[in-house]
Symmetry: C3
Subunit: 157 residues, 3 copies
């Protein structure tokens, strides 16, 4: 089995995304080939701007979905939306890495990003609304299954 | 290692169950032998009717637990219980697959379902309250561990 | 690949911790070498007392974080904090194992516990605030990645 690490990021929570990218960056630092599959709420992390949509339901879900790492909430102790700001301050206090830092490092380490095709379609997100990143592709579930079948570690977060 | 895929469905959320069965159906479509272990809130998906219970606590938890895929909530943006209905409408708008559709496909593809024995006992759910399905069995944690040990991919959702 | 089982416990929920230790204890009972990595909210399970902190944000998060298994909440049906007590009563009714019982068994079976170094630092938890346990160590993400690379099963809970 190849030295691959496959990770599904389903969650759109700040803390879970931090855990995901801490693992991904660590693996990439150990020369593993790392692929992160962003599905459902996880695709929030790949959004960089919002385009107006036609469907009311699309708008409802998209309006509520964060755009980019700074808008994510915490899975626990969200303190009415204040949680992530507090978490970021706490990270700064400790000279730790924010989610923004972790994502930058992931790109420096050329971690492969895959945006789940079905999730984009369902939530009405166009490819043009995603971040610019050389190693970002859009693909279906088979892309994950093939990669995970060859991976030493596969996780769902 | 055999071409097996083992999945624990702990969550009783509509969106997480969608992710689980999208993966499971995809793997089965790729000729992997797929087994889904339903534990804790995940067993909601296997319930088709409710029998009266004797214990107050059993009743409390069971009363609050969904019966079947249509009663599940969303892990995010549940909109006070309205989320899954909106999600189902959004899926219909996109000609996508609802959780009902995904479960039907899982049965067509003969995916093995295992209901966690301890969870049924804890939540006071009798085998007679579960759906009729040829490949549904009731078993303990060893069933998962043996299967996962032989699987290329194991996930906890 | 060795007969190892690697588990990340990110969650600080009573029900998810029950699932984690049911799996871990089952695997250890089957002679697998089991390692549980406690990260983020999961480190709550390792706390046995609280020391006063200097930073306001540290105090805020720590004050809200449970200390030990009895203070954890449920991921669903928490009933305003009452959920875990009801769950414990329900377990007692069924002669099942509470989270306390599961943790004791994990220690009897010499399951290795690893507390995530970065999480302790971030949340301001000192080693002296953790439970006494011979097989508890503090380590970074590489410890998990190395172990998981050699494991038949790796899960993120």
């Amino acid at each position: 089995m190849a030295d691959k690490f496959s990770l599904i990021l389903f969650s759109g929570d700040y803390d879970k995304a931090m855990a995901a990218f801490t693992l991904a960056n660590g693996a990439a630092g150990n020369q593993m080939e790392v692929t992160v599959f962003f599905t459902f709420w996880g695709v929030s992390l790949l959004r960089n701007r919002t385009q107006p949509r036609r469907s009311f339901l699309e708008n409802l879900f998209k309006m509520m979905m964060p755009s980019g790492p700074r808008e994510l909430g915490l899975s626990k102790m969200n303190f009415g939306g204040l949680g992530p700001k507090l978490m970021q301050k706490l990270i700064a206090e400790k000279n730790g890495q924010t989610l923004d830092d972790l994502l930058s490092m992931a790109k420096e380490r050329k971690i492969r990003f895959v945006a789940c095709e079905a999730s984009l379609k369902l939530l009405g997100i166009e490819p043009s609304e995603l971040i610019d990143y050389e190693y970002l592709e859009i693909a279906g579930v088979d892309r994950f299954l093939n990669n995970a079948s060859e991976s030493k570690i596969s996780l769902f977060i």
